[in-house]
Amino acid sequence: MKTFKWWAFLAFFPMLASAETKEFKLENGLKIVVQEDHRSPVVVSQVWYRAGSLDEVNGKTGVAHVLEHMMFKGTKEIKAGQFSRLVAAAGGKENAFTSQDYTTYFQQLEKSQLPLSIKLEADRMVNLNLTDEEFAKEIKVVMEERRWRTEDKPQSKVNEQFKSTIYHVHPYSRPIVGWMNDLENMTAEDAREWYKKWYAPNNATLVVVGDVKAEEVLKLAKQYFGPLKARSLPDRKPQVEPAQTGERRVVVKAQAKLPYVLMGFHVPPLNDADKDVDPYALEILAGVLNGNASARLNQNLVRQSQIAVDVDAGYDMIQRGRETIFVLDGTPSEGKTAAELEAAILQEVEKIKTSGITEEELLRVKAQVIAADVYQRDSMFYQAMQIGQLETTGFSWKVLESYPAKLQAVTAEQVQAVAKKYFVKDNMTVATLDPQPITDTAPKGKPHVH
């Protein structure tokens, strides 16, 4: 699913130099990771909570994201709306995001303004003033967000249905934004309950990257986060998706012109960064299929057979829920059906299962790993994202150090082996968009409609 472009960097997970990275832990359990980067007089500060849609229960889907919105609505000391004004007055940029695995709040500031960020985040970690009045307004904003993000976007609808088909049991089956019914029935008390449950120093990581000294960040963190009390966190029960034992299909009808097909296979996520082999092989496989414009799917299906106008493949090994999928999707060319494109994509997968990949392809993907490792150092935000994501999903940022070597070690045989092992029909889920014409309400005689 395509969301914001700046987010797309997570598709591929290159490593970074960690020479200046330091980590600390406060007595109350708050983890702190600082990476010094002195190229510009700026700093990015992020607070990561180990709370996302993964931790929600039926009937209250979307509450992690709703709480994220409410975190800007004031504390005992800071009035509603003031948080953003204080950051803005310091020249800062700020925002927050919620995923399946985490909720993250960030500021980007000129380096001398870091104390403001630390102070405000420590305050709202425990002092949120979540009123019924503010909740009543903000829940409407979130429903507008769901309409904009999902209801009126045919491919988003397909993705939502796909998730709830490929996962029957695991909470990754649920949309992060929540079902509309759950949003309509959500109360301020639901949000308060979520906040009390998960917002505590021992369930968070502070990540700071920029023109700072690690020891000074630690001092600030001690000053503001230090006095906060650790809380006992609820048990996290393991949630395991039972093995899929037969092909699954879902069709979504929505107003659109072109069909769309989205296919997925259950595959292993990263569990043990040192010992695992398959996740790295799957990462290389994603690169061979779709890592660049010359990769197999684009070359064979868009450029040569021209059965697709676009096609994509992706795999994300870093998951706190320890479940993940390998996804293939695409839009058929005019006159071609979703079924034809599905068959063509599966044929590409089949070719790898039977004939493997070439040494040339393997080297090409590895060359890109090396370059990406250098390029990502141009973005402090990106580097902070990688650290925060790893720490929050139960790994260490140190995984970044071994990651390129792990990818370099993957062989063509291992890539073929994972394709054979996981890309089997009984393990496949397919969602398709059946486009519906816009009939009676179609604009007539307007120049922009064809």
């Binding site: 803005a88 060319s333 141009d378």
Partner: protein
């Protein structure tokens, strides 16, 4: 597939980036002209082993003729899909083999080509060799053209069903009328169908001359290396004069409102007026003023009134898009279709009050604090600096533009903002497009 994630607000910074223009003291921009008349802007920096190049031409969609709308975009894209005997697949493979990234974009004014490569000799040499071929020796293979036209047409058909695209297309048409800024960068189904290989050749020869091309260079290279790179890019470009200026934009003579039916759950609403040019005398008052109106993320008046106080929208914004000729001033929002009229009324009231009454001293102070204080983040990466170099060069802004940006912002007064908005934004002549609302309750 990466972890799907929701974000609290739309990334409004993409709009303000259009304004972004900045440099801290010490960002040493070197500027010269190649022997073939291309302008070069260079910042040397050896912190990272990366070389970034951006070459820019006055070859945006405003250069299209109506009957061949989409030609500028197809020409730019097709240049990257076959050059000097290399096929599209050769180009992609060879770039991937050295980890180089080829990028670029097209807007109404500008066609740009970006290259990011490792600065190590083997990689850099190979990457620049391919990049230069793309700029100098496009092949425009027929088979590739026909394939890409089909893809573009499929995209146009899909867009014609989606409210976001429908509204922005109708808005540009209503705002700019017969001016080429009304033309869609992707063209129309009929006009794209009509485009042939000869059209691409002709467009390339006319619009990709070395005279006036702007080459921005950033990163791990010496001045001598930068000169060599710029010279070799410039030398093989067509010997064509710079394209003439675009026609002037005319202002709407009366207000208009267009309602387009659509079954979506949300109405998509856009309203606006012709705004400002690059280098406009009113740039700073309007920029700072717009931050207060609807550019400043979560602290703008529009966000406060429409989202924070009433929960009517997820996103509401305003921006000026300064272009070579007068570009869009746009206010936009999406809201549940049943409440479209209520939201639109509120937006109009907020805008009218803003234009008529101006801003308070406290609002101005807060705006300046954010813009001036946030300056270092505008240029905190090679990628961002490269874009600013290209923008300054392309729009012929003074080299000191970056150094004086914060001073210019600091000088803006409440009186200037009120005066500039009053003169420039005629609230009784605004263009409005509403897609997917229920019937107006009059």
């Amino acid at each position: 597939m990466f972890t799907n994630s929701l974000i609290r607000g739309l990334c409004l910074s993409i709009f303000t980036l259009a304004f972004a223009s900045a440099a801290q003291a010490g960002l040493n921009i070197q500027q010269w002209k190649t022997s073939h008349g291309s302008e070069v802007y260079f910042v040397e920096n050896h912190d990272l082993p990366i070389v970034d190049v951006s070459t820019n031409f006055y070859a945006g969609s405003a250069r299209d003729e109506k009957a061949k709308s989409g030609l500028a975009g197809i020409t730019r894209y097709m240049m990257t899909l076959g050059a000097g005997g290399l096929t599209d697949q050769d180009i992609s493979k060879q770039m991937a083999d050295i980890g180089a990234n080829l990028g670029g974009s097209l807007d109404a004014d500008r066609a740009s080509f970006k290259l990011r490569t490792l600065s190590s000799s083997r990689e850099q040499t190979k990457a620049l060799e391919i990049y230069t071929k793309i700029l100098q020796k496009p092949d425009f293979p027929d088979a590739v053209l026909s394939r890409e036209k089909s893809r573009i047409i499929a995209g146009l058909k899909e867009s014609a069903t989606q409210p976001e695209s429908i509204s922005s297309k109708a808005f540009s048409k209503a705002l700019f009328g017969n001016h080429p800024y009304a033309l869609d960068e992707d063209g129309e189904i009929d006009t794209v169908t009509a485009i042939g290989r000869d059209d691409l050749h002709k467009f390339y020869t006319q619009h990709y001359g070395s005279q006036g091309a702007v080459i921005a260079l950033m990163g791990d290279m010496s001045r001598a290396e930068a000169e060599r790179i710029a010279e070799s890019i410039s030398a093989g470009l067509p010997k064509t004069a710079s394209p003439p200026a675009l026609p002037a934009v005319t202002y709407p003579t009366s207000a208009s409102e267009q309602r387009i039916a659509h079954p979506a759950t949300q109405a998509h609403i856009l309203l606006g007026y012709p705004g400002i040019k690059r280098g406009d005398v009113d740039f700073f008052p309007l920029y700072v003023g717009n931050y207060i109106l609807g550019g400043g993320g979560f602290v703008s008046r529009l966000t406060e009134e429409v989202r924070e106080k009433r929960g009517l929208v997820y996103s509401v914004y305003s921006y000026f898009m300064p272009t070579a000729e007068i570009g869009q001033f746009q206010v936009g929002l999406q809201t549940k279709r049943e409440q479209a009229d209520e939201a639109l009324k509120l937006v109009r009231e907020t805008l009218n009050k803003f234009v008529a009454g101006g801003v308070t001293e406290a609002e101005l102070k807060a705006a300046k604090e954010n813009i001036v204080g946030g300056f270092p983040m505008r240029i905190d990466s090679n990628a961002k600096i490269l874009d600013y170099l290209a923008m300054i060069g392309f729009y012929k802004l003074p080299l000191t533009y970056l150094d004086t940006f914060n001073d210019e912002v600091s000088k803006v007064t409440t009186a200037q903002i009120k005066d500039a908005f009053n003169r420039r934004i005629k609230t009784d002549k605004m263009v409005t497009v509403i897609v997917g609302a229920d019937e107006a309750k009059q």
